[in-house]
């Protein structure tokens, strides 16, 4: 028997996404906050591939392809923003970026 139920993959995906959310909220370094976004994107990709396999359709794989492309573009722009913020503020801590806070 070599059938892994798709629910196994979905549970793994949910756990990884939840850990990504926890990392996003709890990390204090702006680069690691960015990394937790990538973690959440990866968790969603796993669910996409699992569903594509379960329904034997290729659309899910094409979506994963687009998610990876958008993640690459997002990382390039986001890290450029991080560099700019680090040069202006001399700090990477998200606690120091509270100028819009009321």
């Amino acid at each position: 028997m070599s059938i892994i139920p798709v629910s196994y993959y979905l549970v793994l995906s949910a756990v990884l996404f939840g850990l990504g959310v926890i990392a996003f909220v709890f990390k204090r370094n702006i680069i690691t906050v960015f990394m937790s976004i990538e973690l959440m994107l990866n968790a969603v990709n796993l669910a996409f591939v699992a569903f594509a396999r379960a329904h034997n359709q290729l659309d899910g794989l094409v979506f994963v392809f687009f998610v990876i492309v958008v993640a690459a573009a997002e990382a390039a722009v986001g890290l450029a923003l991080v560099i700019m913020i680090a040069q202006n503020r001399q700090s990477l801590s998200v606690e120091r970026m509270n100028h819009l806070k009321f």
Binding site: V6, A14, L16, N45, A76, M84
Partner: protein
């Protein structure tokens, strides 16, 4: 326990361990290396799911390009140990338990779901070949594919404009 099951549980455990290490590590570079572990484990799971092209793209683009960019920025900015700060009482005593409840509720619901359990990822279905995937990509999804090229062009321009030195 057949080979795919063992492979699934090993890679799933590696992915969850990596994700926990991303949170636990205090140096950003350790978080980045843990995230590479998660991505490689997920690439093996994609192979297991019969998507070799996606697995290759995951390794090349995610573990290769994106994580190298992260490591490069970490070294460029000389990011050291992150400072720990006190969280608000609401986040500590309500947010964290609620987060774990949400994870376990979602996992439990997916686990018990009859609809999800009914469909399996059988190994008897042939793997999605790169040929089928490219036919799908260049016929049905041709316009989104072309649109992503414009997106990448804008991202390049944006990154250049943001990262260059002020005159």
């Amino acid at each position: 326990m057949s080979v795919p099951f063992v492979l699934f549980f090993v890679c799933g455990a590696l992915a969850v361990t990596g994700a926990v290490l991303v949170i636990a590590a205090r140096e950003p570079i350790h978080s980045a290396l843990a995230l590479v572990l998660v991505m490689v484990a997920l690439a093996v799971l994609y192979l297991l799911l019969g998507a070799p092209f996606i697995a290759a793209v995951q390794i090349i683009v995610y573990a290769g390009a994106i994580m190298v960019l992260f490591v490069f920025v970490i070294m460029l900015l000389n990011a050291g140990v992150e400072e720990r700060t006190d969280f608000s009482a609401i986040a500590k005593y309500i947010g964290l338990p609620l987060g774990f409840v949400l994870i376990f509720w979602a996992a439990h619901w997916l686990w018990r779901s009859q609809a999800a359990a009914a469909i399996g990822t059988s190994a008897s279905i042939p793997a999605a070949s790169s040929h089928d995937l490219s036919v799908e990509l260049f016929r049905q999804y041709l316009f989104p594919f072309e649109a992503t090229s414009i997106l990448i062009l804008i991202a390049i321009l944006g990154a250049l404009v943001l990262a260059r030195k002020e005159q």
